[in-house]
Amino acid sequence: MSLIAVILHICVDILCGLLVLRLLKDTEWQLFTIVKALAIGMMVDTLFVGSFSFFGLSILASFILFSIINIGLFGVFYKKLNLSWSDKLLKGRVSIWEGLLLVFILEKLVWSIYSLIKLPVYFDDALNHWSGRGKALLYSVNWSWDPASPLFMGKAFGHEQYPLFASIWRATNTSITGSPDGFIERVDGLLMWVIIVISIATWINEVSGKRWLGIVGASILSCLPLEAWHITAGYVEIYMQAYLILALWGIFNGKYVFAGLMTAALIWSKNEGLILFVPTLTLCLFFTLLLNRDLDLAKKAKLFANYKLTWISIISPWILFKLFKGIGFTIPGNSDIGYVDGTLKLFGYAMFDNPSSSFFWAFILIGIIISSSRIIKDKKLLPIAAGAFTLLAMMLFVFTSTGAHVFLENQMTIHRSLLQIAPVFIVLVCLSLVGEKTKLKEVQKEFL
């Protein structure tokens, strides 16, 4: 029953996403399209269900309404969707070396499904902020939308400052099934991981024209020591990874409205989305448009506005709700800004001398240094590098100069925060280390 509920939920979300992509004139039918549709659909679904729940409709009734609207619209626009299948990722035979890398990726998939089925929700933040509040919302008895109530936003279970994306999606899943279990409470993490893996592989493949390199990128991400845990943990760091990589893909590929949607999803997933990633993505967009000499100033301003207006219009109800109800955008704590002694050294240890990311960041640093001249000369790579380093600088600032330094000192969130920005560095290093002319056969001949 859980599985049917999940499949039904996912299908409705993909339908919704496909309709939105149709509006954006993105009709090239490929694996990546489904992934993008799922990412959009999950966000629209939870915003819809959350809004109707606010107006008093039950979660299940809101979802049924959402499904009817989507199926209806899909029926009307089906022919106009005009989807044409042209997947470069699935094209051609899988070589033995690609197969070997796929084994390492598929192992994560098998392990995740197995542990999702067998193990309960185990980790603290999932029990409190994400699944805990989701359950409170679903059963209503411990939930209120009134700030005067002790039950406001399920605050007895988790921080009321946290957004509701994951909580609503899980509550909807549970409402379809009728009862909660470990699988439906955390399966969204698995979906997000699939989104990340396919997004990395597609992005690298698109730029380099090399599928094998895309698979290399996806396998590097999958083999990060903490990644497998986050697929099943029920935390939303994996949401941030997924939506961040998609937002950056949108910005660097001229899909600014899509990037705006993904930015809205980041804000709807976790507070870092607004505090940390909006400024970073804005800088990335600014830099990308600045480097583009084919566009005049007016066109650049229009594209910039497209991006900004998209995320603002989508997420403004949530931000206004927060403002009117007096909910903070960060959790209460030490808000002093200023460098905290010794934290830079600790940050260095966290990146380069810790089993949580092992020697990943050391390799990234070496890779970027030795290919720096290539990055600087390449118009495709330079904006990605700018984006990646802006993200890293933001992380550095947050963990060394704000109240969040305690989470660096006790290692509570530093490694999972670094995990969020790992995909963009993987894309950058894979693309900068491998020249465009390198083909798999050539590599096999040389190395293998």
Binding site: K118, V121, N142, I220, P355, S356, F363, G367, V434
Partner: protein, 285 residues
């Protein structure tokens, strides 16, 4: 054990050189002497009857004949002493001695011990989502070994094809897969281990049984809880999130019909499973 002249001078040296915060080490019993451990860098010492936290001394000699000594404390279990970190360690143990009469088994750690330590399971803990455990083979961390492997493979590939960037990527990739293989093994080890317990998470075992019955008793009434242990607090609130909860932070727990606690005091217990109690507060109202 009879004291040799050599050991006697060494004991004198130790007694003169050590000053403990509360007492001097007075060694009257030599447990082992002239124990050559060859290449091994770890010693396993298991005392027979000694109580924990009693001082004992390990002394050794470097290749030039200089002598060194270090004090340790006994514990309940066997002690693994990493000798490679000690200055002057060349594999020659002069003696192990202590102040009370006891016997101990001393053996050098073998290759298979290192291997067993390397492949032993790093269990799932509430912190597994925040950071991962390191793997060590002898004194070398796996990440150091794999990082060195990156450069060995890089050099090898570079000799073959003279392409710096690609060689680095492949060197890293293979080492990365090697590192991941250890993590894969550990994750499946955890799952196998849990399968033997019928997938029951040990720390949730009692609270799960307790909550199943407590849920039936609470029914449509309200509940609250007093502090439990660690993640069990979150697990308890999550499991009963569909029942009316009076949190200590935002409500008055005294208004709750039932309290979950590990300290019942003199209150009315309506259900108990091991250390967990369900207290009825109806009589107080």
């Amino acid at each position: 054990m009879k004291l040799s002249i050599n050991s006697f001078y060494l004991l004198l040296l130790i007694c003169l050189s050590f000053e403990l915060p509360c007492q001097n080490v007075s060694i009257t019993n030599i447990i082992a002497e002239n124990f050559t451990t060859s290449e091994s860098d770890l010693l396993e010492i298991k005392f027979n009857e000694t109580l924990p936290n009693l001082p004992f001394v390990v002394a050794w000699q470097d290749s030039a004949g200089r002598q060194y000594a270090q004090q340790y404390l006994t514990n309940d279990n066997k002690l693994i002493i990493p000798m490679a970190q000690q200055s002057g360690w060349s594999g020659k143990l002069l003696m192990v001695g202590m102040s009370i009469a006891d016997e101990a088994t001393i053996r050098s750690i073998s290759f298979s011990d290192h291997w067993n330590n390397f492949i032993s399971m790093r269990g799932m803990t509430p912190g597994s989502v925040n950071f991962t455990s390191p793997y060590f083979f002898k004194n070398y961390s796996l990440r150091f070994i794999c990082f060195c492997l990156v450069f060995i493979l890089f050099a090898l590939f570079f000799i073959i094809n003279k392409r710096v960037y690609l060689s680095l990527l492949f060197g890293f990739l293979i080492s990365w897969l090697v590192y991941d293989s250890r993590n894969i093994y550990n994750r499946w080890d955890i799952m196998n281990n849990l399968a033997q317990q019928d997938y029951e998470i040990y720390i949730f075992k009692d609270i799960d049984i307790f909550l199943k019955e407590a849920r039936e008793i609470i029914g449509d009434k309200s509940w609250s809880k007093e502090p439990l242990s660690g993640v069990i607090n979150s697990y308890c609130t999550y499991k009963l999130a569909d029942l009316e909860y009076k949190s200590k932070r935002y409500d008055n727990p005294n208004e709750a019909d039932f309290i979950i606690t590990t300290k019942p005091k003199k209150r009315e217990i309506v259900y108990q499973h091991n250390s967990y109690f369900l207290i009825s507060q109806n009589s107080d109202k």
